[in-house]
């Protein structure tokens, strides 16, 4: 080994570069294996027999005819699988006394929602399994079902009669009790006397995470170690759940998430299908594959949102906010899913958003119904919170008679007030709401559009213009283990990374985050390339296989970069530290005199140096290492952050409402997100664009609906309206930069930001366009019919009828208020 004398020119910095995603070529050209592409010798296929009823007792299951069908190997019921099938766990009991029905993957006695699996057919081909599944004859005793969230909260019909109630848990945060603020009831009482009280009830409709790749699972039980491939976001958590509930030692389980085609939260579940495939494979000793159809995916994959939000905002007459009270009813569906009631709890810290509320109270009642279970969907709790507060701020602006941006400016945390501890107890590290807002206004052409809006209104134009504002923040990087522990979350939030320095100068990094479309391979390569001074192309990112990535907590909650990326930084720093003594030895210098820069170790004050690849080679050869130094510079790190991080941004949306049809057409959308330092602007743009469309889709298009018997009416994409690129416009996006102070890269999460911010921006715009017709709300999705009916709701009627409704009483939050969308306003302007 000879020391290289000439230092090469420093490579271009990778962080901040618009790198095209290195994973895309293989994903786009099909040079990869998705779970459904995996074929094993002797593999058998599963087809599921599902309940058509929302609530029914299984009287009998006749499998005889199905068993004689061509190439059928077996037909199994819940009774056949018994306890070996494990349990689908809830990892976050939000209260100690939470009512949690046991969720057996394949029940043998009773189903609690349509789509539940009661039998499965094992056959030599998927087609033969499907044919035979139709021959399974189930005799049902249909039981009364409860589908409506408010009716369920009244406990008249029980989703699980043996539990005695549909109310699962009531979780509360009160700023006075927590010592983070004042008494909210006093603030509201005072505002009723001499200020403004705005009371609204908003509906967060149920949504379906419509990932591109349907869920699929393959189980190979033929070795001593059982391997499961699954289209999942959470291979590590899945492995834990299998071990914890099926009795197989964790060390005998390998879970592989190969390339996974999207999730949006919908794949962070441990599913009945995975557990059934697992049980059947173990029982038969044969590899098993199950891939769901889209129809099955829509009815049985977990759904998202589904809340009623009762909100009371108190303010002084000039619009200074004084209190916020939030009462939620949240639909769990038939079972408490893995995060389950934790989803609304994640929103609890975000209703106060960027505003300086002196008093705050949040309560959520989670409720069981005979519907598909619900869990995290892109944003998970925070879109609901952001929607509520951003809709309320627009309403407050109307009451005070000022521009919606002005009312926000009056109440938000100023840039010089960071770090700022909020009334919900969160410490916001950095941000500049005014800067992001100024930029967004400029991009939208806010003042010009306001002028146009005025012209259209004055001329009674059939097409009215509305402008919606959303100045959001969110907490992301779902992590700090202590915080999660204090909330009774079942796991920690750390992340693990390791860096392997290969003898040929290439670098393998292993991350516990489990990408399913985010572009981790590219972004993580950029970080490592800069950190170690190696070429972007020389970095390989490995993930998703518990045998390769042995430690990890997977991908959700905008955590991969801010937690997993930071773990990677720490691991690379350790590589450099481990390499220093070897480099010093090679350079015949003291380790104290070695400095590392641009991929080279050099002796301070000299031009002597070695490249990190040479050190890696020296460590590999191990022919001449200093005494006591291990022949490896590979390193790993597990990182647990001390705080979340808080990206924010200002989203402005202009819509045209055709008052003759109620049709809503997006005119312009501009957003300025502050997500701290950016690793790859191209990937960020993709996250923002996709996130925006998903949030806009909640505002305008998507809604999962059941009929009274519990059948999913929106059971295909004919009725569940997923937008395509043809339904969207080109978005104007930009960024301000307030680096996060809670991680060394200064990054903040961006995976959910667009979805969280956009929904209220759009609905605010729709309401703004037609407010002069006496409209103060349109329920989501804002269908043309709903918009048109809102415009004409006051035709010939008393336009003040809605505002004259009595304010919310102090009755039980579980709610017996039948009137949807109740609202009232007291005080100035009412």
């Amino acid at each position: 080994m000879t020391a290289v004398q000439d230092a090469p020119a420093a490579p271009q910095k990778e962080i901040g570069r618009d790198r095209r995603r290195k994973e895309d070529q293989r994903l786009i050209t099909g040079r990869t294996r998705w779970t459904d592409n995996i074929t094993l010798p002797g593999m058998l296929h599963l087809a599921m027999v599902r309940s058509p009823h929302a609530h029914a007792r299984i009287v009998s299951i006749d499998t005889a005819e199905a068993k004689t069908s061509t190439n059928v190997v077996d037909v199994l019921t819940g009774a056949d699988l018994g306890e070996g099938q494990g349990v689908n766990i809830n990892a976050w009991p939000i209260t100690p006394d939470q009512v949690t029905p046991t969720h057996v993957p394949m029940p043998s006695d009773r189903v609690a929602c349509a789509g539940e699996i009661v039998a499965c057919v094992v056959a030599r081909s998927a087609a033969e399994a499907r044919d035979a599944a139709e021959l399974v004859d189930v005799e049902w005793e249909v039981l009364p079902a409860v589908l409506d969230l408010k009716k369920a909260a009244a406990d008249e019909v029980l989703a699980h009669p043996d539990l005695g109630t549909n109310k699962s848990a009531y979780w509360k945060f009160d700023s006075e009790e927590a010592g983070t603020g004042g008494n909210v009831d006093e603030a509201i009482a005072k505002a009723r006397t001499d200020g403004i009280v705005i009371e609204r009830e908003y509906r967060q409709q149920r949504l379906i995470p419509a990932f591109m790749e349907p869920r699929s699972v393959v189980v190979d039980p033929t070795g001593e170690q059982i391997t499961m491939w699954s289209a999942t976001q959470i291979p590590h958590i899945l492995r834990f759940a299998l071990a914890a509930t099926t009795g197989v030692p964790e060390s005998k389980i390998r879970v592989i998430a190969p390339d996974v085609g999207g999730g949006f939260g919908g794949k962070l579940q441990t599913t009945p299908e995975e557990f059934i495939a697992w049980a059947v494979a173990r029982r038969l000793g044969k590899p098993i594959k199950y891939t769901e159809t889209r129809s099955e995916s829509l009815v049985s994959g977990h759904h998202g949102r589904d809340q009623w939000q009762r909100l009371t905002l108190a303010a002084e007459k000039d619009g200074t906010v004084t209190g916020l009270k939030v009462d939620l009813l949240a639909d769990l569906g038939a079972y408490v899913a893995i995060v389950g009631g934790g989803v609304p709890v994640l929103g609890a810290f975000m209703f106060n958003s960027i505003y300086k509320f002196p008093a705050y109270q949040f309560g959520v009642q989670t409720v069981l119904t005979n519907s598909t279970w619900t869990d995290a969907y892109r944003g998970a709790g925070r879109p609901e919170a952001t929607y509520a507060i951003e809709r309320l701020m627009d309403e407050l602006a109307v009451e005070v008679g000022v521009d919606p941006i002005a009312i926000r400016e009056k109440n938000w945390i100023n840039a010089d007030e960071f770090p700022f501890t909020t009334v919900a107890g969160m410490e916001y590290d950095s941000g500049d709401y005014a800067a992001a807002t100024a930029r967004a206004k400029e991009m939208l052409g806010y003042d010009e559009l306001r002028a146009e809006q005025k012209r259209r209104r004055e001329s009674n134009d059939p097409v009215q213009l509305g402008i919606g504002v959303s100045t959001f923040t969110e907490m992301c990087g779902l992590a700090p283990s202590r915080v999660l522990g204090s909330l009774d979350y079942g796991a920690g939030g750390w992340e693990h990374a390791s860096v392997r320095m290969l003898a040929t100068g290439k670098v393998e990094i292993v991350t516990g985050a489990s990408a399913h479309g985010q572009g981790h391979e590219t972004a993580f390569s950029q970080i490592v390339a800069d950190r170690l001074g190696v070429a972007f192309e020389d970095v390989e990112v490995l993930h998703g296989d518990t045998q390769i990535s042995h430690k990890g907590l997977d991908t959700y909650g905008s955590r991969s970069l801010v937690v997993g990326g930071e773990a990677l930084v720490k691991a690379t720093d350790k590589v450099i530290e481990r390499a220093k003594p070897i480099a010093a030895h090679m350079l015949e210098a003291s380790a104290d005199d070695i400095e590392f820069s641009g991929g080279r170790f050099s002796v301070r004050g000299t031009d002597q140096g070695v490249a990190i690849a040479e050190v890696a080679m020296a460590a590999f050869a191990a022919h001449d290492l200093p005494d006591g130094v291990e022949p490896s510079i590979d390193s790993e790190a597990t990182y647990d952050p001390v705080n979340f991080n808080f990206p924010h941004g200002t989203h402005l949306c202009a819509v045209e409402v055709d008052t003759e049809t109620g049709g809503v057409k997006m005119r312009k959308y501009a957003c300025c997100d502050d997500i701290g330092n950016i690793i790859n602007p191209l990937i960020v743009s993709g996250q923002v664009h996709g996130g925006l469309v998903q949030g806009i889709a909640q505002a305008l298009w998507e809604e999962a609906l059941f009929d009274e018997s519990g059948t999913l009416v929106t059971g295909s994409f004919v009725d569940y309206l997923l937008p395509t690129s043809a339904d969207t416009i080109s978005f104007d996006i930009d960024h301000t930069t307030s680096p996060s102070l809670t991680n060394t890269l200064g990054t903040k999460g961006v995976g959910e930001a667009g979805t969280i911010a956009s929904t209220p921006a759009v609905v605010n715009a729709v309401v703004d366009a037609i407010r002069h017709f006496g409209v103060n709300d349109v329920r989501m999705p804002c269908t043309p019919e709903r918009v048109w009916k809102a415009i004409h709701a006051n035709d010939g009627g008393d336009p003040t009828e809605r505002a004259a409704m009595p304010h919310f009483g102090d009755e039980d939050v579980a709610g017996n208020q039948e009137t949807p969308g109740a609202s009232s306003t007291e005080g100035a302007g009412a």
Binding site: A126, A127, R130, D131, E134, T293, R294, S295, E660, T661, G663, L700, W701, E703, L705, V713, T714, S716, V718, D719, L721, L722, P723, T724, A726, D727, T783, P784, E785, W788, K789
Partner: protein, 284 residues
């Protein structure tokens, strides 16, 4: 999803197709592009034992001039119909509707006759065919017969085509020089129309001389808005000129109520969209 197993025949002549149909009767289903049939089979909503694919019968494909009408072969894919010079010259309303029909893939695989024979009341071609007074040529074992548009659409997914018959071609009377517009109202672009209006207008001087108006998804079949057509004669091609006539658009309709709107909302839409379609067709 995987359909139930079925047998498959791909005859190359109409005669072969008819004889296969006669042989298999109720157990057979005709495939004419498959854009509606295949999803139905894959979701196992229907399970025919035999699928007879008309895709290889060359004589059913293409557009020809036949004096006062153009003749569109039933198996001509939508995109070929839409770009055919005879169609654009003499039946401009049809390409206007095809432009909004489903998505590009469906327009390439689906066929003109297949869509009409499927008779989905929310299908985009029924209203234009009805408005233009199309005639449907139907072949059976005893030869061919021709049915007018008014008799062709019988009910939801039901036409005058007998169980042992095949739609072979559609004769569209030439509407040379007529303005045309298809006004389709949807929430997302790949959706079936909530309501759509097909309008063709012949102008004379500054006013409407003749108008043809068809409604999509306002009943169990496409509906011809004859009252509107009559009231439009002599009207100025402007919003105000057309408004009164368009107000009659919902008369005699029986629209469905579903997730996208109730019947009253659809009646309202029919009036608004009719006005817009007629004004646009007239070049206003």
């Amino acid at each position: 999803m995987i359909p139930t197993a079925f047998d498959y025949l791909a005859p190359t002549t109409v005669e072969e197709a008819l004889s296969a149909l006669a042989q298999h009767g109720d157990d057979a289903k005709i495939m004419a592009g498959g854009q509606s049939l295949l999803p139905v089979l894959r979701m196992r909503l229907n399970a025919p034992e035999m699928v007879i694919d008309l895709g290889r019968i060359d004589s059913l494909r293409g557009v020809r001039d036949d004096g006062d009408a153009i003749v569109i072969g039933a198996m001509t894919p939508h995109f070929e119909v839409a770009k055919d010079p005879l169609v654009t010259e003499h039946a401009a309303l049809i390409p206007k509707a095809i432009e909004h029909l489903a998505d590009a893939q469906v327009r390439h695989r689906g066929t003109f006759g297949g869509a009409l024979a499927h008779a989905d009341p929310a299908g985009d071609l029924g209203a234009p065919a009805l408005a233009l007074g199309a005639q449907f040529v139907i072949a059976g074992s005893g030869g061919t017969r021709t049915v007018g548009a008014d008799e062709f659409f019988v009910d939801l997914f039901e036409t005058a085509i007998g169980e042992d018959e095949i739609l072979t071609e559609v004769r569209v009377p030439k509407h040379t020089g007529w303005g045309a517009h298809y006004e389709k109202f949807v929430r997302v672009v790949h959706q079936w129309p909530i309501v759509a209006v097909a309008a063709a207008v012949r102008m004379d001087g500054g006013s409407i001389a003749e108008a043809r108006v068809g409604l999509t998804n306002m009943g169990s079949t496409p509906i011809r808005a004859r009252a509107v057509e009559a009231a439009l004669v002599g009207a100025a091609p402007t919003d105000d000129g057309v408004r009164a006539a368009a107000e009659q658009a919902a008369e005699g309709t029986n629209p469905p109520s579903d997730l996208n709107g109730d019947a009253d909302y659809r009646r309202h839409l029919a009036r608004v969209l009719t006005r817009r379609a007629v004004v646009a067709a007239a070049g206003g």
